[in-house]
Structures are given as structure tokens and as C-alpha cells.
Symmetry: C2
Subunit: 402 residues, 2 copies
């Protein structure tokens, strides 16, 4: 077993022994590393609080490393993987959670907001790339038609512009956000409060399969974990931390989505909410948040991009601004470029059809767009080249370099 394997195994075992976010465990791991931390935990050489937190599990688990090995094998067989902070694709912005974690008082859910030990993942996209340009869209399960409509519009607009739409996989606003991103051929990530092999809610089993196919299904909890009530709240901190900002579309006065927004605020991420009628119970939470300092009212995806993107770049409405290289292109090339999608490759014929030009023109012009760096070849088709200029990190967060 290599040192890397050992660390990975230790991370997985630690993730099974203590509830994600455990502050004492996080501090210990940062001090002595995952392998040594696991060793101490198994031997009981840890703080009383941490020992207490792990006691119940320890009594159930005969051999923690063995359990971890078994879980890693199952994941492998099911096409899932584990990502740990040691991996290149780890989204480094998650480590900001260590900053807001409080060892002292408060409810466990408020104290234990440490970064995850590892993430279980279904879906191919490397996490760091997927979340560099990402926005969380969250809200009520019992969403109104209005809320569902707004979540759909916003998510579609963001996904179309190459932003990853992150949500929690729940009914209502979450589902609308995921579905609209899929419909836009964009990337969407569902961050769950249960194992990625265990669809919850069950009615979303198909949706989760579709998300895993083109996007990401992610959880801190190992295979088979059940979604307890508290876990949704623990999970929310990951949604807030991994994205550049969180948009609350609809929420009742006591909605869990408000907690996600609170985490985003504590992390210095963009905090956004959608207004609605003052007569709607589903907007009460949004309006309460909008009365807080620093919450930004957003009407549409452009205003979301203004908050999370670089001004003047992502802010631009679909017809592009005057000072971009695109402006040097001739009308045919511009028409074709507008029909190339950011993530999903299209064949020259598909692009020609979408742009309303002949297949011959498309086949002849697309290679020049590749040469000019606007488009990249992908399989037998083309997709937009990544735009690193839009990946400027916000001041407060620790973002990977583009």
C-alpha cells in the first residue's frame, strides 16, 4: 500500500467514524495527518469530545480500515470514486470551512462546520474544474409555480453560459434548478445528505442518474448512509463553500435554505435572494434575508453573474460586448460561434443546423475558429474553448488558479 493509498483509506475510515464536519477531528487531522489521526482515534488517544463522537460507531465497527477498503471497492464497482484533499481535483475553496468552524459552544451543527474528510462522487467532471465557476440555487421544497419558474429561468441562463448549477437534489426549487441545467446541456451538481448510491428522495432516482451521467452527484457520507434530518443542515455548508455564491429563490420563514445562505455569508461568498409577493408564505424567508445587510436582490441570471463573475465579462448579455476578440470575426463565423455550446460537443452538422447556415460553410469555418482559439475539438464535434478570463476568484475565498 502506497502512502497515498494509506491516506485515502484513513480519510474514508475517519469519514465513517465521525459525522462530517466534526471540528475536533478536523483540527487533529490538520495537526498530525489523516493516518496518524485514525490511529489515535482507534486507540482512544483523542479528546474526550471526539472519543465521545466516535464511540457509538467504534463499537459497531470491527475493523475501520477494513470497512474503508470494502467501501472503496464497492464504489469502484459502481463507477463512483472518492476524492480527498490530497487529490489534485479537490476543490480547495472547501478548506475555507475551517475558518468558520467554531470549537466552542452552540449546537453541534453550528460548531461542526469543518471541511469534509472526503467526497464520494458519481460523475466524470473533475471537481476543481466543475466548481471554479459555480453558483448554488437553493430554496423551499414546497415551492410555488412562481418559484419553480424563476429557479428554472435562472439555472438555465447560468448553465447556458457555462456555469455549474449546484443544489441539494430535493423536491421544489432544487429539482427545478438541476432539471433546467440539464435541459440547457449544462453542468449541474447535486450535493446530497446521504450515500450517492441511495437516492433520496426516492422519486428523484432517475433525476440523480441523469445528473451523474453528465454532471456530478456528491456526498460526504459513505455508501449506504441514510439522510437524517441533521445531515441536511451539515451538508448545506458544502453547498455554500464550494460555490462562488448562493441564490435563495423561495423559502419559508424557517427554511433550511436560510442556513445555507448564512454559511455563504460567513464564508464571504455572494449572498443572493429572489423577491416575491409579500403575500406569499414562500417568499417570507427571502424577504427576511433581503432585510439583512449584504444580501443582494437578484431578478435574473445576469444579476447573479454580476455578483459572482467578473464585472464586464459575465455581466454581458448574450449579444457580446464591443471589446472582445469575437468582434474581429466575420458574420458567418460569429453565427457559427453562437451555436457552439460550452460543454456539450456538437457535430459540424448540428452546429450548422442551429446556426442556420449550410453544412459546407460550417465544415469549412469551424476549423478556423479552432485555430483562433474560440472553439476546441471534442470527439467528433466541437465545443467552446474555456474562458479563463472569467475565472477571477472573489477576494474572500481561496480559489484554485484558473
Amino acid at each position: 500500500m502506497t502512502a497515498t493509498d494509506e491516506i485515502r483509506l484513513a480519510r474514508v475510515a475517519l469519514g465513517c467514524l465521525a459525522e462530517p464536519g466534526n471540528r475536533e477531528l478536523g483540527v487533529l487531522v490538520r495537526q498530525v495527518g489523516p493516518a496518524e489521526a485514525l490511529d489515535r482515534l482507534l486507540k482512544g488517544y483523542v479528546s474526550e469530545r471526539l472519543a465521545e463522537a466516535a464511540r457509538l460507531r467504534l463499537s459497531d465497527i470491527i475493523d475501520a480500515p477494513d470497512l474503508a477498503r470494502g467501501l472503496l471497492d464497492s464504489a469502484d464497482r459502481m463507477g463512483a470514486r472518492v476524492v480527498t484533499p490530497e487529490d489534485h481535483e479537490w476543490p480547495a475553496q472547501l478548506d475555507d470551512l475551517a475558518r468558520i468552524s467554531r470549537a466552542s459552544d452552540g449546537r453541534a451543527v453550528d460548531r461542526d462546520t469543518d471541511p469534509p474528510q472526503c467526497l464520494w462522487v458519481r460523475g466524470d467532471a473533475p471537481l476543481n474544474e466543475a466548481f471554479t465557476r459555480s453558483v448554488a440555487i437553493v430554496g423551499a421544497r414546497a415551492a410555488s409555480n412562481y418559484g419553480t419558474y424563476v429557479a428554472t429561468e435562472m439555472s438555465h441562463g447560468l448553465a447556458e453560459r457555462g456555469w455549474t448549477v449546484v443544489s441539494g437534489g430535493a423536491f421544489g426549487i432544487d429539482a427545478a434548478a438541476h432539471r433546467a441545467a440539464l435541459a440547457a446541456d449544462g453542468l449541474t451538481a447535486a450535493i446530497l445528505a446521504c450515500g450517492v448510491d441511495r437516492p433520496y428522495p426516492l422519486g428523484h432516482a432517475n433525476l440523480f442518474d441523469r445528473i451523474a451521467e453528465t454532471g456530478l452527484l456528491i456526498s460526504e457520507w459513505p455508501f449506504g448512509s441514510a439522510p437524517h434530518r441533521l445531515r441536511f443542515l451539515v451538508r448545506n455548508r458544502v453547498i455554500a463553500a464550494v460555490t462562488r455564491g448562493t441564490v435563495m429563490v423561495e423559502a419559508g420563514g424557517r427554511s433550511g435554505a436560510r442556513q445555507t445562505l448564512g454559511r455563504a455569508r460567513a464564508l464571504g461568498r455572494a449572498v443572493m435572494a429572489v423577491p416575491g409577493p409579500v403575500t406569499s408564505a414562500m417568499s417570507v424567508g427571502c424577504h427576511a434575508e433581503l432585510r439583512e445587510e449584504g444580501t443582494r436582490l437578484v431578478n435574473n441570471y445576469s444579476e447573479i453573474l454580476e455578483e459572482v463573475g467578473r464585472i464586464g465579462d459575465d455581466l454581458a448579455p448574450p449579444p457580446r460586448g464591443p471589446d472582445r476578440p469575437h468582434d474581429t470575426l466575420d458574420p458567418l463565423a460569429t453565427q457559427l460561434l453562437d451555436a457552439v455550446l460550452p460543454r456539450k460537443a456538437r457535430t459540424a452538422e448540428e452546429i450548422a443546423a442551429a446556426a442556420g447556415v449550410s453544412g459546407r460553410d460550417a465544415r469549412r469555418t469551424l476549423p478556423t475558429l479552432v485555430d483562433a482559439g474560440f472553439v476546441v475539438e471534442h470527439g467528433s464535434g466541437y465545443r467552446l474553448a474555456p474562458t479563463p478570463s472569467s475565472c477571477e476568484p472573489p477576494a474572500a475565498g481561496r480559489w484554485p488558479a484558473p
Copy 2:
């Protein structure tokens, strides 16, 4: 003619010669007084700009003082009056407008925001008392059902709690605000952009008569003045300045109500807006304002009172707080007191009926409430004694002492 009469006459004449808000005139009047300012204006000993502003009128008017006398006589005959800054009842907070008036550049409407020279008034309430606790409710003429509903609810709640509801007498939000205040037996003031003898819109002739009966119909323009487009914008500064805060209920992107809110902001008054669906064109202006620093989202009248009133006093919901003298009253007295209105006197019989107690109990107990200072006699009935404790001025404004 006494010195006071001379000043009043000069103010009225000046109000006829230059459009209200004229910056040069305001400065001159503050320097040399109204009578001398009128003398200089008639003789042409004024700045070229001011001479220019008055030239058109001067050529029409044979004798300005004579015209002013005629107007004052007409007002007298029609039961109206003129209030000038020299009068005790002048709302001193209007003088804050001199602070934001800019002599230099910009459109006339942005430059000429000086305080009025005088106000033409229909209605008995002394202006200073009426506006000490006042809120402006403004918004679109083409209001939606939603906007009309919210304006009605807010205005009714404010009026019931003894606050004067100020608006501009227009269709839509304005009308809903005035009507709801009337329905609550509260005080409402319509500040017009035409003469108080000249209903505009004509369809509000009856509404204006009802407002003048129990509330106030006010204009800077003399009898017979027509409502030009520009005058609505000039008028808006008075709505913003005379109140503690302005609430925009619904407004399109280019609504004039947004200018009222801008004036309130410049004056340091409370700036409030009501959210609505992001899909409604009538909420576009509100959401744009809510995206500005310092605009407060309000869901209901309680939140308006939080902004403009003294915390813990006006904030209180109808069942009164624990630390007020009312708590020393016996249940019968409390019941009766709850049925006494703040402004409209009710007879002992009416109060008994509203409180659900016998007329005999009411007739016996009401005088004790008068002795205790909670209630005052008014004509053959009773109304609530004024509550000076709620009249604390906000920091930024120049408010009269309660």
C-alpha cells in the same frame, strides 16, 4: 397692511412669478427676505437666470401684488388658506430642501429643489402637527391588483396607528393609499401638482373633496394652475421632504415614484420599497431601488414603523406593550380606550358600541380617561390624546419639537 401681511403677499406673488423650487429665488429670499426679493424681481435687479425664469410671467402679469391679493381672496372664499414659512404651522422639515438644492448644472428639475415659498391648503389640520408622524406611500398609476392590495393594507395600518399617509393624489397606488387612510378614519394628505381648486385627475374630484374634509389637500401652485408634466417631478420633492420616509409600493423601471425615493434618500429620510414577483413589470422599479444601498425592503406597515418610528413604541403591534401607562387601567377602561380613534371624535354611544360595553359604562368611564390624559373631549365626542412620546425626530431631519 401689517408686516406679516406684506410678507405673505410677497411669498404668494413670488410663487406666481417663478416655478416652485427655483434655486436662485430661494437664495435671494433667504438673503433679503420675501418682500425685498419681490421688489428686486419686479425691478429686474436680480441674476440673469432668475430674471429669465420670471420673464414670461412678468410680461403677463400687470401687477403681481394685486394678483396675489386676488388669489388670497379667492382662497378665503373657497375655504382654502395659504401657509408660509413664517407661519407657526409651517412644517420646518421642508427647509431641508435648501440643503439638497444645487445651483450649478443638471436639468432644471434636479437643480431647482428649493423649499416652497408657500403652500395652498384645503383642510383644517395644522400642517406641522399633521406631518410630524407621516409616511409617504407612492407608486405606479398603472398599479396591479397586488400593488393596490399592498398599498391599501399598509396605508390602513399606518393610519389606524395615528400616522398621516401622504401621497400624490394620482390613480393607482396613490389613490389606494389615500382611500385606505380615509377608510381607517385616519389622516391623509394629497400633495398635488396643480391648484387645490382644480382636481387632477378629474376622476378624483370626489376623492379630493373627501380628503379636504378630514385631511389635507396641498399644493405649491396657486389657484387655477394646470398640472404640467414637469410639475409632478417638482412636486415629488415636497412629498419626500415633508414625511419621515417614503415607501414605493409598485413602480415600473422609469416611474416618477423612483425620483421621489431619490429625493428621500438625498434628504436622509427612510427609503423603503415593497418587493414583488420578478416577473411583474410593475415591480421592476422597486427591485432596482432595493438593489441600491440603503433602500429597505418592507413587507408590511409594522416594518415601515420600524424604519420611521421610535423602536419599541411604534413598532408595537396593536396589543400594547407592557411598560405603558395603559397597563394600569382596569379592563373596562382598556376596552373603551381601544375603541377611541386617534383623530376622529366618536360619541360615548359610538365608543360603547364599538367596545361592546353599555352606554352607561362608557359615559361614566370616559371622563376618567380624560382626567388621566389618555383621551380628549372634542365637540360632543372623544378622541385619543396625542402621544408625543412617538414624535422623536430622526437624526438626519429638522423636525419640529413634538
